[in-house]
Symmetry: C2
Subunit: 402 residues, 2 copies
């Protein structure tokens, strides 16, 4: 059992005082407006700041926001206004981006699994950049999006990630060489290589694996006279949960060093696909305690919240993501709890292995805020499981409030 105090001071976190300010601003908004719970509040000023921080840390990389992390239209519009590009997973996300002011040229179709008619629809809408990792998909792209840029996803080690990807995506560097050569033969532009070192990656040196693999593919292609130009660094940059993550600068430094090592002066164009890093720390999820009960089994109280696995906290599966908490009773003496969601589902338990301590005075009706909950929450909500409505999102703009 990891000893994590839910009342840990947040000021020692990566984004430090700035993030703390976001949390306070959102709390003020919540306290003032007292919306129905549960709800997610996202501060668009924080989204802008996180985007700019990455822009400064990796000035040469084209930022493709991973829309799936938080597809709130206001978030997409805010990023489009800053000139961000977008990593999308489906035609639904393409429509969303275009509706919020993104240009088709700013869109990267980043899902290796696509129907031919979805590729054709993307192409019709002006999208010209597609990922692939299999011959079947490549043939579909050549047929339905002729002449487009393609990049090939290679499978790399996900160690250090809180939510690794397994073997679903990516191919070997050898296969990538074969596929990108084939792409050229098919009249596509063999633009480059992508990889993903796993989401919420806590080890900044992990990118080394992917950059080395990309170099391997570049070399393999050079032997055949094919010249790719781009390396897509994928996602993986962290948000601030209970386990501390290194500061953004450390990630940038490791990435720059690996690029120097493997590409030297022949730097490729760079893409990066942040999701959590942009929107995670920009959100707070407010919940209400439904019930606090004594357990039959051990000395831990059970605290049931009005949010759970099926209306926003999908990433608590396997206790992979451990959110920091703030309660309306902070300061009172604390004791260990099991945290659970509101449905009649036995799997709707958030934390029973990870240690959380909450105030002994906590009772039904009290507030519990989950900090840094802006990514991968609302978009996972079920439509109506147990008759419970999906998690709503409120967007505020801290700069306008200030």
């Amino acid at each position: 059992m990891t000893d994590l105090s839910a009342t840990t001071d947040v000021t020692d976190r990566p984004s430090g005082a700035a993030e703390s300010g976001v949390q306070d601003r959102i709390r003020d908004y919540l306290d003032r407006t007292a919306p129905e719970t549960p709800c997610l509040v996202v501060d668009l000023a924080a989204v802008r700041r996180n985007y700019q921080a990455l822009r400064s840390a990796l000035p040469d990389a084209r930022i493709c926001y991973a829309v799936k992390a938080n597809p709130a239209p206001e978030v997409v519009a805010t990023l489009a206004a800053l000139g961000s590009s977008f990593d999308v997973a489906s035609p639904g996300e393409i429509d969303l981006c275009l509706a919020q002011g993104a240009s088709p040229e700013s869109i990267s179709y980043g899902n290796t699994i696509k129907k031919p008619r979805d590729i054709a629809r993307a192409h019709r809408l002006g999208v010209r950049l597609f990922v692939t990792d299999s011959e079947a998909d490549l043939l579909n792209i050549a047929e339905s999006a002729p002449g487009s840029q393609v990049f090939c996803r290679v499978l790399v080690d996900n160690k250090g990630s809180r939510t690794p990807f397994g073997r679903k995506f990516g191919c070997t560097p050898q296969t990538a060489v074969r596929l990108l050569r084939r792409a050229a033969e098919l009249g596509l532009d063999p633009y480059g290589v992508s990889f993903h070192i796993g989401s919420q990656q806590l080890d900044p040196s992990a990118w080394e694996h992917g950059i080395r693999a990309a170099r391997e593919v570049f070399d393999g292609l050079a032997e055949h006279g094919v010249t790719p130009r781009m390396v897509n660094l994928g996602g993986g940059l962290p948000a601030s949960y209970t386990e501390s993550a290194p500061p953004l600068g450390d990630y940038a430094e490791h990435i720059e060093r690996a690029l120097d090592r493997h590409f030297g002066a022949r730097r490729p164009e760079l893409l990066i696909e942040p999701g959590r890093q942009v929107v995670g720390d920009a959100g707070v999820l407010r919940t209400e305690v439904v019930l606090v009960t004594a357990s039959a089994g051990d000395d831990r109280r059970w605290v049931y919240l009005d949010v759970g696995r099926y209306n926003g906290l999908a990433e608590t599966e396997g206790e992979a993501i451990t959110y920091r908490l703030r309660t309306s009773r902070d300061g009172d003496e604390c004791g260990p709890v099991v945290l659970a969601g509101p449905t009649c589902d036995g799997d709707d338990v958030l934390y029973q292995h990870t240690r959380y301590d909450l105030p002994l005075t906590l009772r039904g009706g009290d507030r519990v805020d989950l900090l840094s909950a802006g990514a991968y929450t609302a978009s996972y909500s079920s439509v109506c499981f147990n008759g419970i409505a999906p998690l709503p999102t409120h967007c505020i703009d801290g700069d306008e409030l200030a």
Copy 2:
């Protein structure tokens, strides 16, 4: 690895020829109307037949359909018209039932986790039957739904269940005695005891544990002059997935025998809360193959469907529920596959440990039907994860079609 052929003959399943007829009727509908995939089709005639089969098997039990299994309005209306009662998890499900013709007296508020204002709302709407398993909740019921009937959920062994409940719900028989005594003191009606032996329970003798625990509570209460009258047998009756389940009659027989053993001639009133048994075998989920690729790692092909963990197949988590499949290439030679969903999420893999064999000729655009998919699918769908729309449900009435 369990050796399960995805093309297993379905006629040896519990509901045999009847269920097979349902699948054929739904296939005819799907082939004729060719709706956008993925989609779930539910045959209301099969829902009626499954309900009547349970009514015949356990004629003394009041059937409370577990709405969470499939909250399609047509399903609820069909069951309300047959005189079914309803097990609901939230105010949202109460509203749904009332709107579809259920009376407030037919509703059992079966979630131990409820806000006081939700209890009050249910009471205002006429609901008079509530579950509990903690003092905090009991006090809320006494305050917000005075005079109501309450039953206390005890925790029993979930062995044999494909999706056991863990320790989230239920208390010890000793605590149940204490709570029901307290209920009487608080002016509530200490109506009885409930238990849940785990969903998709493949062992019909499992109910024995719960019925014995209920008897223990009845005896404990009798010592204090309190006389409960009801035993709620909970859910757990199976649908027909790849692992065969015993026929419904076996379940009824075991339940009757356990009731005789523990209650003899002093039979309590009975409630039962079926979900899967009513609606599971009444549904077919039609999907389209997006892509078939060779794997880098082993000899299994990867088959990507347009449905996955986040748009309908939540119960493939941990490969707990293994659906039977039917493809548009059945009859062709088969080989092993990994089955995965359409999102950019590494956890969106349906089956990689359970062995599935599918036709070697299978390719993008082909149809794959998931049989007996009527329960716990559409209601779990995410609102828009990866920009993918929730799973739609089409209801047909096989009796009207015939």
